[in-house]
């Protein structure tokens, strides 16, 4: 066997997760647009948005939206790049960068959503 | 594809070769016969298969219609009926003891294929489906056509070949794809191996073996219009001739009635089995004049001769050299389900949609009934009759058991190749149970092969291999085809001498070692010229008409003088004939009508 090598992968679970998150994102994105633009009873403004995102339920939805969207997108990017960059420092750098970007965005997002306290304004 | 495993290399002093490989069994040819033997022998022994093409490229894969076995899955059928049809089909030249084995083991072989995983088409009850085929009848020819051909759509050969290849992978058979056999190593009637040429890398390799088996196939390529692959050049036959062994019944060449016009590409007999008509220029189903009962489902020799007669008498379509195969009345659903490949072939090669138009067809050289004389366990005869070559076996189209006699029935070839391949494998296992040692390898084992390759690689004459081959094919089609006659054959005999002369003056453009197809084509032409002489002289020698061999100057069968097998040797450029009797057990020769 000159060409083959067998390297086990957890591909099945990640592939499945990517499909599930895809569906989740489609639903949440639809909800997001619908609630923001069509489902409002009052005037769209700071107060309305403030009231909505202060609730624990919306905090949960927004954090999951953030984490899952980031994961879905960046893992997709990872898969595509994985086809073409097999080894070397470029691979370490690019895949490191993807991980770091993910971490920064998740942290920033959570820092924005969680402490948000309308009472403070 | 070819990489050499260093573990199989053993150095023997005094032989100028690249590598010496040692395997218990070396099989040449990866078609149905070779692979079936490999499956059998690899249950117990180390088996290598060498083939000039990658295994699944073998021409067994081109077979379409089916494999015969009296399974009675669709309707009543009996071994004896199958036996009678085969004997009658052979024009009573088939050896009946061998035919009895053929029909008895047929159900076992077909079911084994199913067990191996072959995807046969199925009956509504889930059994292997069966269809009609030419010459296969009920009740000793008294009833109509019988459903006997087991099939997988019209890709039967393809599925059987791939299934065997898969089982060989499972069994760990060692493949040497794209290795070309150059010579047999036989000394003192003991086969010691073969010499091969590594096509990909170039170089002589010796394969040292306790048993060698040939499944090297047929030689349709000596004809201009043929259903055979470009690689169907009968190399194994002349390797045997060159080793001083005889060939049997080479004058019997089958022409298939339905070859695509001008291409010769096979349109399966399944097309007629499913109900297709053959029509001449006047729109007549002319077979009713030649075989009033069986019509299009008469055996191939008869249908081909009838077609050729229609063409010769000016009733070809538009006066040309073809007739029509009409499937339109079968309807698109049946065509697409049962005959999808035929639809594809007619469309891709002739731009004919067989659902809407008839297919132009003509007879095409298809199968050689003769070959290397072997016994019922496929061991090769040293003298054609009694004495055996130790450790040398042959099966399939290259061999002559003889179950097909003077004419083969459709679907009996896939059966014969796999059934006798299996028997060869079993015989080899029995032989290796006794023969524990490798026979000695003579120091000059590879010298003739090395000489041949060196001579061809350095040939610097003026003749092109292709032009000699083209002349050979045209002359063979014209003068040793469906109808034969003494004057023509005499002329052809002289012509062959000229061609051999020209062959000694060839040039080849490619002098490199790696993947040199130019060299291969020169080697193949050398082989074809060698055994073609036997076909022509055999045809000249047999002064009667029997099965596929039809002499216009001797149009009757002559059992008194010619109910016997021809054996032919080549000694110092001359052909020597001998004969052996036909084995007749149950069915006495009768007049053959359909």
């Amino acid at each position: 066997m000159k060409y083959r090598e067998h390297v086990r992968s957890g591909g099945a679970i990640l592939w499945f997760f990517q499909r599930v998150t895809g569906i989740y994102l489609a639903v949440v994105l639809f909800l997001h647009v619908w609630i923001l633009h069509y489902a409002l009873k009052e005037e769209l403004g700071f107060a309305a948005v403030k009231d909505r995102i202060a609730t624990p339920m919306w905090k949960t939805i927004d954090i999951s939206f953030l984490v899952i969207a980031l994961f879905h997108g960046l893992y997709g990017l990872w898969i595509v790049l994985d086809d073409y960059i097999h080894k070397g420092w470029l691979r370490v750098f690019i895949f490191g960068a993807i991980a770091v970007i993910a971490l920064i965005f998740v942290t920033l997002g959570i820092l924005t959503i969680l402490p948000f306290n309308p009472g403070g304004y | 594809m070819a990489t050499i495993d260093p573990e199989t290399i053993h150095d023997v002093e005094g032989i100028g070769v690249h590598n010496i490989h040692r395997h218990d069994v070396v099989i040449v040819g990866a078609g149905l016969a070779g692979l079936r033997a490999a499956v059998e022998a690899s249950e117990e022994y180390d088996v290598a298969v060498i083939s000039k093409v990658f295994p699944t490229r073998s021409h067994s894969g081109g077979a379409q219609g089916g494999i015969a076995a009296s399974l009675s899955n669709e309707e009543e059928d009996h071994l004896e009926w199958h036996m009678f049809d085969t004997v009658k089909g052979s024009d009573y030249l088939g050896d009946q003891d061998a035919i009895e084995i053929l029909v008895k083991e047929a159900p076992v072989v077909v079911r084994e294929f199913e067990h191996f995983g072959a995807p046969f088409s199925r009956t509504p009850e889930g059994r292997i489906a069966q269809r009609k085929f030419g010459g296969h009848t009920k009740d000793f020819g008294r009833g109509g056509p019988v459903l006997r051909a087991c099939y997988a759509a019209d890709r039967t050969g393809h599925v059987l070949l791939h299934t065997l290849y898969e089982v060989c992978i499972r069994n760990g058979v060692r493949f040497y794809p794209e290795f070309y056999a150059l010579s047999l190593i036989i000394r003192d009637n003991i086969c010691r191996g073969i010499v091969g040429w590594d096509v990909i890398n170039g170089g002589i390799h010796v394969f040292h073996a306790k048993a060698v088996m040939f499944g090297t196939g047929g030689y349709g390529r000596v004809y201009k219009i043929t259903s055979n692959a470009l690689s169907g050049t009968g190399d194994g036959l002349s390797l045997v001739l060159r080793a001083g062994l005889p060939l049997e019944d080479m004058e019997f060449v089958q022409f298939h009635p339905t070859g695509l016009y001008q291409q010769g590409i096979l349109v399966s007999e399944a097309a007629r089995g499913e109900g297709g008509y053959i029509i001449n220029d006047t729109g007549e189903r002319f077979m009713e004049r030649y075989a009033p009962e069986k019509m299009e489902l008469a055996p191939r020799d008869l249908v081909s001769r009838s077609e050729q007669t229609e063409i010769n008498e000016g009733r070809g379509i538009g006066g040309k050299d073809y007739v029509h195969l009409d499937l339109r009345h079968l309807g698109s659903e049946k065509i697409m389900k049962q005959l999808p490949q035929i639809h594809e072939l007619a469309w891709k090669f002739l731009h004919v949609d067989c659902i809407k138009e008839p297919i132009p067809i003509q007879p095409t050289a298809h199968y050689s009934m003769g070959g290397i004389p072997v016994d019922k366990d496929c061991q090769v005869f040293a003298d054609g009759k009694k004495e055996m070559v130790q450790g040398f076996y042959a099966a399939g189209e290259c061999a002559c058991v003889s179950v097909h006699g003077a004419n083969r029935l459709g679907t009996n070839s896939l059966l014969e190749a796999s059934l006798f391949g299996r028997r060869a494998g079993k015989a080899i296992r029995r032989f290796l149970g006794v023969q524990r040692e490798f026979p000695d390898l003579p120091p000059d084992a590879a010298s003739s092969a090395i000489e041949e390759v060196e001579r061809l690689l350095s040939s610097s004459g003026t003749e092109r291999v292709s032009s000699i081959r083209e002349t050979l094919q045209e002359k063979m089609s014209l003068e040793c085809g469906i109808f034969r006659e003494a004057d023509q054959l005499q002329r052809l005999k002289k012509e062959l001498r000229t061609l051999e002369e020209r062959f000694r003056n060839i040039k080849i453009d490619d002098r490199s070692k790696r993947f040199n197809v130019d060299l291969l084509e020169a080697l193949e032409l050398g082989h074809m010229l060698d055994f073609t002489e036997i076909i022509v002289e055999g045809a000249l020698n047999r002064k009667e008409s029997r099965g596929a061999h039809y002499r216009t100057d001797f149009p009757k069968r002559n059992d008194g003088d010619w109910l016997k097998h021809t054996l032919a040797w080549k000694k110092d450029g001359e052909i020597i004939f001998d004969y052996k009797p036909v084995v007749i057990t149950r069915f006495q020769p009768k007049e053959r009508t359909y």
Binding site: R4, S9, W15 | H115
Partner: protein
């Protein structure tokens, strides 16, 4: 003036310095000639050193898959005149190492075929003197799978294979699914084992090039998506 110009990508391993180059052959193409007929005509009448594989010339053996005017096809079943171009560019299948001219090394194809355990695996003892039963409906499930001729056109057209030579490739997946889908096979786990691999199923990005390339009109992409579902079912339940 010849009707056609054949531009053929040539390479002679004994002349590494020259490397790959295009050579042009003029040819009068007759009606009914296939690309293989044209190549034979060139080889037999003009240049015997031109090298390509061929055997059955009826589209069943799979020897002559090559790239003609940028598309993978079997040379033997493609009519030259249907290409509607007076310049015909012939190249070896992409992605495989070239041995000589149009001949490629199909070792990667064979190795990945071996990897999927391409044979029927059964555990139940076989019936004696009888075939196993399989209904026509069960049998129909492997239509479109068993017809593969191993020509290599699909895998050669696959960007995932271009990127990763260890990738199993559509032909391997098609073969694996031919057995997984067979009602008689009891070795799903064994066939799937090699597929859940760094170079396996998850490298397929459903690009559909294999479907376009297959000369037998088979659909490896569909087989792949069925296999993905099968593997997920096995892992997640």
């Amino acid at each position: 003036m010849a009707t056609h110009a054949f531009k053929i990508n040539r390479y002679n391993p004994d002349d590494e310095r020259r490397g790959h180059y295009m050579q042009e052959y003029p040819l009068d193409v007759q009606k009914g000639w296939t690309i293989l007929d044209c190549l034979n005509e060139i080889k037999w009448k003009q240049d015997g050193s031109l090298t390509f594989r061929r055997s059955c010339r009826s589209g069943i053996c799979g020897s002559c898959a090559m790239t003609v005017n940028g598309v993978n096809m079997l040379a033997c079943e493609t009519q030259a005149l249907t290409l509607k171009s007076s310049t015909i560019v012939v190249e070896p299948l992409r992605g495989y190492p070239v041995i000589k001219d149009l001949v490629v090394d199909l070792e990667p194809l064979v190795e990945s075929l071996y990897a999927v355990k391409p044979y029927l695996i059964t555990k139940t003892p076989l019936p004696t003197d009888q075939e196993r039963f399989q209904s026509p409906e069960e049998r129909a499930k492997i239509d479109g799978l068993y017809e593969c001729i191993l020509c290599g056109a699909c895998t050669s057209s696959c960007p995932s294979f271009w990127a990763d030579k260890k990738y199993i490739g559509p032909h391997g997946f098609l073969k694996a699914y031919r057995f997984v889908a067979d009602s008689r096979d009891e070795g799903t786990r064994e066939h799937l084992e090699a597929l859940d691999d760094k170079h396996g199923l998850w490298r397929c990005h459903t690009i559909f090039n294999c479907v376009e390339a297959c000369p037998k009109d088979l659909n490896p992409t569909k087989a792949i998506s069925e296999l993905k579902k099968e593997l997920v079912r096995e892992k997640i339940g």
